[in-house]
Amino acid sequence: MKPLRSPYTPCILLLGASFLLSVAIGAEWIPPLRVARILLGGPWLSGDPGPEGTDATIVWSLRLPRAVLMALVGAALGGSGAAYQGLLRNPLADPYLIGVAPGAALGAAIAMVVLGPASMLGYLAVPAAAFAGGIVMVLAVYRIARVGETVPVTTLVLAGIAVGAFSNGLTTFVMLLKKGQVERLMLFLWGGVGLFEWGPIAAIAPYILGGLAVLILFARLLDVLQFGDEQAVQLGLDVERAKLLLIGAATLVAAAAVAFVGVIGFVGLVVPHVVRLVWGAGHRRLVPLSTICGAALLLGADLLQRAVPWLSRTPVGVVTAFLGAPFFVYLLRRERAEHS
């Protein structure tokens, strides 16, 4: 497909539309005009004792923080997914498949079981523990999967499965140490324990925004890395330092996304692919566009989960799996066709 002229306009419009829809639509129906009035009127409308105040509370205290958190997490997954795919020169890399998300979930689970998720200390410790778990697991996958200078698809997927299963096993073990955690565990492993309040948002926003800024600013390094390590060195790049910077930033972003929302798969895989198909493979565009479209996709998946009655028991990670798994199969088949 021929690259479109201005890729940012449609992406930002898409994000804006899905954000507004997320605020406008929920479990209870509020007429769109009233939603607009509530948004323009400000959060103090919640003080109104009548039904108008109830709707204002629904919009300002329930829907808005949820939409902001989902947008942040989606942006983190999309942006870091694009970065990982470039870093490993492998189109199947995704925070979920290469062990970052399961590792981060393990770290977060340990911190949550020890501290309780909604304490002040928890707000600081949970993302930190998630980052530690994520970086350990992604390095493990990288070491296992690396063959010479490249990371082939098969070894990457296999190493990701092994490390991911090991992490998930440990997470299950840790969570079940505490009685009555099965429901929480299930939700967490499928991206459902959202602490949709401003506290957790404030706790992870700096990591996500800071890490994404690094990835977007240094996206051109990813383009250089595509030539291979040797070529990149000849082009004057300190390859090891560049990789360290990008892996660190991407893992910080992905781990922060997992910390309070749990493991949401496939967003980081699907979004960069679609962006690449439509607007080309250059990372200076790919990373920021994947960030924006990741936010839009996760907002959309969450909207489906909240608005479709028979999905009401389903964590949002299951919805993204429904959308993403068939796409993953398609990619694998195409990969195989190219190699044969």
Partner: protein, 311 residues
């Protein structure tokens, strides 16, 4: 719930059967007088010893009933959940749930295994494959159903007289609560929180279960009574619109407190939170269909109608 109704019918059938057979009383500790066929909560005819002398009680509801009717001395094994009354804790525990220790259970040489409805029919079959006599006790959904379970366990253990006494006490205490709340002018709307792991989508108790029954008998109106599922998941948005007057925190044992409910985004608007009518509750009193259900009813009634219990 159809299973509860079936259990109640089975229990009623058993009482008739017991009368027809004219079971003679025996001293606890003496060998069983014989065996007879009794229908259990799965509708199967089980050949049980009469009375059972070495009981493995898997399920806290049964264990609590057994101790309440003086059959605690005949219990030789229990599951981990059976932690009440305090005397039960000295009986060897054999695991619980899906990790029920079949070998330890067999080693305790029970002549009857009483399984509560928290165990699946497949687990009952596994017990029988281990050559144990397994008897399934279905969950009641009404106090009449509870009374017939008490009668059933009384006749299985040879404690009919104590069982009858317990049945009468349950009946009179339920009656007493009904009389106290009868004159109350308002029937507050109640939200029973089972699990708010995700505070935007808490689980609650819908129609058909004992929680709904208790709220009604305690003089309240369950806001989820009209739901189409026994354990629905509600959105916080819907809860805000329904605006219940009382919130019962059934997940208190997982660390939820009235304060933490108050601190949830948006919940401050709910009438129950504004009026300080968010109450911690011991979920065991409603989730274990044993004799303490009456304690649960009385506790619930005191929370919903404090004025009726003053003085």
């Amino acid at each position: 719930m159809t299973r509860g109704a079936r259990g109640a019918r089975a229990a009623a059938g058993l009482v008739l059967l017991a009368i027809a057979c004219d079971v003679r009383h025996s001293e606890p500790g003496a060998p069983p007088l014989g065996r007879k066929a009794v229908q259990d909560g799965l509708g199967r005819s089980v050949d049980v010893p009469v009375p059972a002398q070495r009981i493995a009680s898997v399920g806290p509801s049964n264990t609590e009933i057994l101790f309440a009717i003086g059959a605690g001395g005949q219990v030789v094994a229990r599951d981990d959940f059976s932690d009440q009354p305090a005397e039960a804790r000295s009986i060897p525990a054999v695991g619980s749930g899906t990790s029920l220790g079949l070998e330890r259970l067999v080693a305790s040489r029970p002549d009857l295994v009483l399984a509560a409805e928290i165990y699946a029919p497949e687990q009952v079959r596994a017990l029988e494959n281990a050559l144990l006599t397994a008897f399934f006790v279905a969950n009641p959904t009404t106090f009449e159903g509870l009374a017939s379970n008490v009668g059933l366990l009384g006749s299985l253990t040879g404690h009919e007289a104590e069982a009858t006494k317990l049945q009468r006490s349950i009946q009179s205490r339920v009656q007493a609560v009904a009389e106290r709340v009868h004159n109350a002018e308002d029937r507050p709307t109640v939200f029973y929180e089972l699990d708010a792991t995700d505070p935007q989508q808490p689980w609650t108790a819908g129609p058909g279960g004992f929680i709904n029954t208790l709220i009604t008998l305690a003089g309240g109106r369950n806001v989820a009574a009209g739901d189409d599922q026994p354990f629905p998941r509600w959105s916080a948005e819907r809860l805000l619109r329904e605006n219940p007057q009382v919130i019962i925190v059934g997940d208190a044992k997982y660390g939820v407190t009235p304060d933490s409910v108050r601190a949830r985004a948006g919940w401050g608007r709910i009438a129950a939170v504004r009026d300080g009518r968010v109450h911690s509750f011991d979920d065991d009193l409603v989730s274990r269909p044993g004799p303490r259900l009456v304690d649960g009813l009385e506790a619930m009634a005191r929370l919903l109608h404090p004025e009726a219990f003053r003085g």
